[in-house]
């Protein structure tokens, strides 16, 4: 464990966790045809509410004489649930505005992302910079014994283990189940889904809410784990936008999305390693700009078709297999509205 490289890799996995969760959540929502552009505000607001809920419950329980460890065990799941509820509500608001009121999803999402941050700052002002309950790493039985990988992947917090489950769960659900077929059809061609008896808008509400809840979970992963607590200005602000870009980079495919999130966290870690290396002097502001330059570069990779061209380099047998992962087209009906009365 003393190996600094291993430490860095472990921290990359930790730091990528909320990005993975949020990006998977957004992937699900967008696959169903709804753009939740309020990711950044959702993460900030759910981080705040999740922390405050966990903190308050923890204080009440310990004040009532409960042991600290037990109180934390109870407080954290409650904080997580509150955060998920907040995330789901924001996403559902976008869905309602689009489906019922014919408003532009991008416009509503943008307003909500600003509102989420202001709301979090306003309501959380009394909870800033106070210590609260934190999710600690759990050494995973058996798997943590694997050399190298065990140290990197299986001495993490519950959030990270949840993210592993999500990656495979989302992939399996999207591509290997009947419900996944319906979910994708609703985002690709709602008229066809409607003709096959799918309640398009009901599914869109469902997956907007589900994806939003995951975004809320990502918020909780910040305030109850990696960013530990609540600050003003919020210290995870901006990551929501990065998660949105990762979804595009990931071509709406869970595996590629995850790859994007780890790549991103990795390059961020690399930047800070460089900064700490003696003899190299780079202005901290330049380093802080790295994620944003990376964001533009990753989007460039997608828009230039470089990723799809990579497909042609693969051997023929692998091409068929990789096509699903390497295609970069957004869901065809993304951001549009479906009116069942008109069947279009």
């Amino acid at each position: 464990m003393a190996d600094p490289l291993l430490n860095t890799l472990e921290s990359i996995v930790t730091n990528a966790t909320p990005l993975v969760i949020a990006a998977i959540g957004e992937t699900i929502t967008e696959r169903a045809g709804i753009v939740n552009l309020a990711l950044d505000g959702s993460i900030v607001l759910s981080a705040m509410t999740g922390f405050v809920a966990a903190y308050s419950l923890n204080t009440a329980l310990t004040g009532g004489g409960m042991a600290v460890a037990t109180a934390t065990m109870l407080a954290i799941p409650v904080g997580v649930l509150v955060a998920m509820l907040v995330g789901a509500l924001i996403a559902l608001l976008i869905a309602v505005a689009s489906i019922e009121l014919n408003q532009d999803q991008v416009a509503i999402g943008f307003v909500l992302t600003l509102l989420g941050v202001d709301l979090a700052v306003f309501l959380g002002t009394n909870y800033a910079r106070i210590p609260g309950p934190q999710a600690l790493p759990i050494v995973f039985p058996v798997l943590s014994q694997i050399p190298v990988a065990g140290d990197i992947f299986f001495k993490q917090s519950g959030f990270t283990y949840l993210s592993y489950a999500l990656i495979f769960g989302a992939w399996y659900y999207l591509f290997q189940t009947r419900r996944g077929l319906a979910l994708r059809a609703v985002g690709e061609r709602p008229e066809a889904a409607f003709a096959r008896g799918v309640s398009v808008n009901r599914l869109r509400y469902l997956y907007a809410g589900l994806g939003g809840a995951l975004v809320g979970l990502a918020g909780a992963a910040y305030s109850l784990n990696i960013k530990a607590g609540w600050t003003t200005p919020p210290n995870m602000q901006g990551d929501g936008w990065i998660a949105l870009a990762i979804v595009i980079f990931g071509g709406w495919h869970p595996f590629r999305v995850v790859l994007g999130a780890y790549l991103f966290a990795g390059l961020r870690a690399l930047a800070s390693v460089i900064q700490r290396t003696p003899g190299i002097e780079i202005n901290i502001m330049v380093l802080n700009a790295v994620p944003w330059v990376l964001m533009i570069v990753t989007l460039l990779l997608v828009s230039s078709g470089a990723i799809e061209r990579a497909l042609l380099l693969l051997p023929r047998g692998a091409q068929k297999w990789a096509r699903n992962i390497l295609r970069s087209d957004p869901p065809a009906a993304l951001g549009t509205r479906f009116d069942p009365e008109r069947g279009s």
Binding site: L101, Q103, F110, L119, V121, I248, M285, V286
Partner: protein, 368 residues
């Protein structure tokens, strides 16, 4: 019957404001404040005396400039979220001139404004180039460029423009007195030059959008870029020009933001003060009705001007004003939808309602 229709229209226009106030009031109660008191403080805050009113106008000037610029990009169907960075870049360019050029008063002011226009236009052009030539969606390009612009400010302050006493990241050394924008009076410290700039910008943009080929090209591009191209509109150039014009206006707003109430002009972190994001909200509310713009920006500025009172008198976080503004815009948009829904229910189901938001469909907007 007619009167009833009129009444329902008025009530639908007023309703979102009331709903927004009620919702925000509930939040104030939630943190243990008095919502009525908060409201009166905010409303009174900007109009207590001449000086506080000047404060409102000094918010109105950059906000109106940025929002006017956004009308241009919205007409072209572009989500120019990057406007905040364009303000910041304008401020940086203006600061560079103010800190390094030795010019007499009026010339230095003009030089700052021109530099700011170039700076803002440059940052707008970067976003436009990424969008039109390289296919990077302007929302994401804009978000990233906003961040990079603020980091550039920090970099300049902590590096090249470090004040002599050193070490601080609070701001650059004060600009020379010649860089100050002249004010109307010490009491009413509002820059006359900037007022004129704002009025000219509003009128010129309003006329250009309505009566020129450029304006028509922007509208055509915004409504349907593919068709516009086939009708002979150079759509990429149109979009790029919209970014540049918006950047120029935003840049001037940035130059103005370095004046800091005309006491010690300097560039500081977060120089834009989020004016750009607020301008996006304004643009969402007014859609393409530019004649409404100065009124809406004035209302938003009055709220901002009153926000200082919240902290001073009621010890409420100033973010409350942001919350109120956000809730207000949200309810206005939702009520717009509600109204068209009610109208189409009463007349005919088949009518698709035209939302007053920019005419980019979500998919195009996010991943175009």
């Amino acid at each position: 019957m007619k009167q009833q229709a009129w009444l329902s229209r008025v009530s639908l226009a007023v309703a979102p404001i009331i709903v927004a106030l009620l919702l925000t009031g509930l939040l104030v109660i939630a943190v243990g404040g008095n919502p009525l008191q908060a409201l009166t403080e905010v409303l009174r805050g900007g109009f207590r005396d001449v000086a506080s009113f000047a404060g409102v106008v000094n918010f109105w000037i950059p906000l109106t400039l940025a929002a006017t610029g956004l009308i241009v990009t919205f007409t072209a169907g572009l989500w120019n979220i990057g406007v905040d960075g364009q303000i910041t870049m304008g401020a940086i360019f203006a600061s560079a001139v103010a800190l390094s050029w030795n010019l007499p008063g009026p010339l230095l002011v003009i030089a700052q404004l021109v530099a700011a226009m170039i700076g803002g236009a440059f940052w707008g052009a970067v976003c436009g180039f990424l969008k039109t030539r390289l296919g990077v969606n302007e929302i994401f390009g804009g978000v990233a460029l906003n961040q990079i612009a603020s980091l550039a400010t920090l970099y300049m302050i902590s590096g090249p423009w470090q004040p002599p006493e050193g070490g601080s990241v609070r701001g650059s050394p004060p600009f020379p007195p010649e860089s100050l924008f002249p004010v109307i009076s010490d009491e009413f410290s509002v820059s006359l030059v900037m007022l004129i700039v704002v009025v000219i910008s509003l009128v010129m943009i309003g006329l250009a959008l309505r009566g020129t080929r450029w304006g028509l090209s922007l509208k055509a591009t915004g409504q349907n870029a593919r068709s516009a191209l086939l009708l002979g509109v150079p759509v990429n150039r149109s979009a790029l020009s919209a970014f540049i014009v918006c950047g120029m206006l935003a840049g001037m707003a940035g130059a103005f933001r370095t004046q800091f109430a005309f006491t010690s002009p300097s560039i500081r972190p977060l120089v834009s003060g989020g004016i750009g994001f607020l301008a996006v909200l304004v643009a969402l509310v007014v859609a393409r009705r530019i004649s409404w713009l100065p009124l809406v920006t004035f209302a938003f500025s009055a709220l901002l001007g009153g926000s200082a009172q919240l902290k001073a008198v009621l010890r409420l976080d100033v973010a409350l004003v942001g919350v109120l503004q956000g809730v207000l815009v949200l309810t206005i948009l939702l009520f717009n939808g509600l109204r068209t829904r009610l109208e189409s229910r009463t007349s005919d189901r088949s009518g698709t309602s035209a939302t007053p938001t920019p005419s980019v469909s979500g998919s195009e907007a996010v991943h175009g």
